[in-house]
């Protein structure tokens, strides 16, 4: 099986790729994205000055994995020098945006009454815009922070791909919005002024301008995402049909967005000993072997296929993750 053309089964090439700035880790739910991204982050922190790990999964697991509490702001991970982590909610609301982070956003919206709601409805009518907005906000923040590498622990498959489509979606939406504001701007302006104007002395033009800024940010970031030197996507999968199927679909889709993928992590492999009496383990191993062969056949030439074992205990805590992460670099040798 050790074909000369095959790429080494470790993430070392990714670690060595010094130009990388953005790394996405994604896959179906429950395959071990968070564990993998944490491990990758730990390994990355060894070779780079500063690494930021961001979870965009609404079901935040980073806190769980490292056994410490993370929040909206980047916080260093104790025990891993050079690594910080943060958890963001991709379902943030637009009112946050309007008040530019102020806490009186809700109040502002209430003060606006019907008009505020109307505007909110209008903005929300663009599919995926709220997620895009909050993502863009985060990206803006992140761009300001000087991290060498940023690793995204993404939400299960669909969400990730949707996020990567956002710039186009948003562009269309914003076009429509600015068109609307040109047509009805006067009317809205009158209504707002009748109620005493927007809080904080803002105007709809300001809000629109803010949105356009965001679009520029997203557009710029997207350009970086399409650059294979700067960005790579690491799919995580388990050797089972559905996971494999989703991964293939995802890789094709990423290809259509021109996002580079050249490494994948096959997780939760069973390595029962030869004389193992556990029937279940053996038959499962047989199934996994079948899919592993298929994976090697299909991706072996173009991908670093990293094979990770299923451990007997949960991978939690810095120490456990550090140990697990070693196997991303030096391939796991199964006990005979």
């Amino acid at each position: 099986m050790a074909d000369e053309h095959e790429m080494p089964p470790s993430l070392k090439p990714v670690l060595d790729q010094k130009s990388l700035k953005w790394i996405f880790v994604g896959g179906k739910g429950g395959v071990g994205k968070t564990t993998t991204s944490c491990s990758l982050a730990v390994q990355m922190a060894k070779v780079r000055k500063s690494v930021l790990l961001i979870s965009t999964d609404p079901a935040h697991n980073l806190s769980d994995a490292f056994g410490m509490k993370f929040g909206k702001d980047a916080r260093p991970v104790t025990g891993v020098p050079g690594l910080s982590a943060m958890e963001i909610d991709p379902n943030g609301s637009i009112s946050e945006l309007i008040s530019a982070g102020g806490d009186d956003a809700q109040q502002a919206m209430q003060g606006l009454g019907g008009v505020g709601n109307m505007f909110q409805d209008m903005a929300f009518s663009i599919p995926g815009v709220d997620e895009a907005m909050s993502f863009a906000e985060v990206l803006k923040q992140v761009k300001g922070m000087e991290y060498e590498v940023i690793i995204f622990d993404t939400a299960p498959t669909g969400h990730t791909l949707r996020f990567l489509q956002f710039p186009t979606v948003l562009e269309k939406g914003l076009e429509k919005l600015s068109q609307l504001s040109q047509q009805f701007g006067g009317m809205i302006g009158n209504l707002v002024n009748a109620r005493g104007g927007l809080p904080n002395g803002q105007s709809f033009d300001d809000v629109l301008k803010k949105m356009e800024d965001l679009r520029d940010t997203i557009g710029e970031v997207n350009k970086q995402f399409k650059n294979a030197d700067l960005t790579t996507f690491v799919p995580v999968l388990i050797p089972e049909f559905l996971s494999l199927y989703e991964t293939e679909r995802m890789i094709q889709e990423l290809g259509s967005y021109e996002i580079d993928t050249h490494a994948m992590v096959v997780n939760q492999l069973l390595f029962p000993k030869k004389d193992n009496p556990c029937e279940q383990c053996n038959s499962r191993r047989k199934m996994q072997k079948k899919y592993l062969e298929q994976i090697d056949d299909l991706y072996g030439e173009d991908f670093n296929v990293v094979k990770m074992p299923l451990l007997v205990d949960e991978v939690r805590g810095v120490e456990s993750i550090s140990k697990f992460s070693e196997m991303l670099v030096t391939p796991y040798e199964a006990p005979q």
């Binding site: 049909f241 494999l244 199927y245 293939e248 094709q252 079948k290 062969e293 298929q294 994976i295 299909l298």
Partner: protein, 216 residues
């Protein structure tokens, strides 16, 4: 030089055949089918489109024959090929569609010029030539005037009127022929409800027996 009377009649016949009996769309389709068989750049595209379509279908069949669970690598490769072929097919078909629309437009224009245009030319050129003369006193003055419209000498039939007469007669005759066939077959022979049974019985008058009472 054949007589103008005959030429006008033939043109009217052609017009009727093309536009009513065959239909403009069908003519366009036929011409398109001929056109893409000629050595034109479009024929290449058409062949490619067909090829992509066939390729996509073949891969789809093959994909169905391979078990995704047992032979994922092979299946996935087939699927990649299939997706690619399908995409190419759709692209090619779309680009061909625009060419075809252009072609249809041009062909419709040519057809129009070839029939109505020629008609117009003849009407203009022979506008002041009498087609034939009416015996004097057959019709009153104002009817003579109408029949010689627009420019033929009074008392004659103008080319325009002759054309209209030919067209009307051809239309009526064709209608009569089609109606006869329809009645004979007992079902609709053209149009949207083709093949439908006629609601009307073929013309056959039931014999009225002398004894039967007439119901009032």
């Amino acid at each position: 030089m054949p007589s103008v009377l005959l030429v006008v009649f033939v043109i009217q016949l052609l017009l009727h055949t093309l536009n009513t009996l065959i239909g403009g769309d069908n003519v366009n389709q036929l011409l398109w089918a001929i056109y893409i068989r000629l050595p034109t750049p479009q024929s290449d595209d058409a062949r490619k489109t067909l090829q992509y379509g066939k390729e996509a279908q073949r891969l789809k069949r093959e994909m169905a024959a391979v078990s995704a669970q047992d032979d994922f690598a092979k299946w996935a490769r087939l699927r990649r090929g299939h997706d690619k072929a399908k995409e190419q097919y759709e692209k090619a078909a779309a680009s061909q569609q625009s060419t075809r629309q252009m072609f249809n437009r041009i062909m419709s224009a040519v057809r129009w010029l070839g029939t109505q245009g020629v008609n117009f030319l003849i009407n203009t050129y022979f506008g002041s030539t009498p087609m034939f003369w009416l015996p004097q006193g057959w019709v009153p003055y104002y009817a003579e005037w109408v029949l010689s419209c627009p420019r033929a000498p009074l008392g004659s039939i103008s080319v325009n009127v002759w054309g209209i007469a030919c067209g009307s007669v051809i239309a009526m005759l064709s209608e009569a022929v089609r109606a006869t066939i329809t009645l004979k077959q007992g079902e609709v022979i053209e149009g949207a409800n083709k093949g439908e049974k006629l609601k009307m019985e073929a013309i056959s008058i039931p014999p009225v027996s002398k004894n039967s009472k007439k119901e009032l």
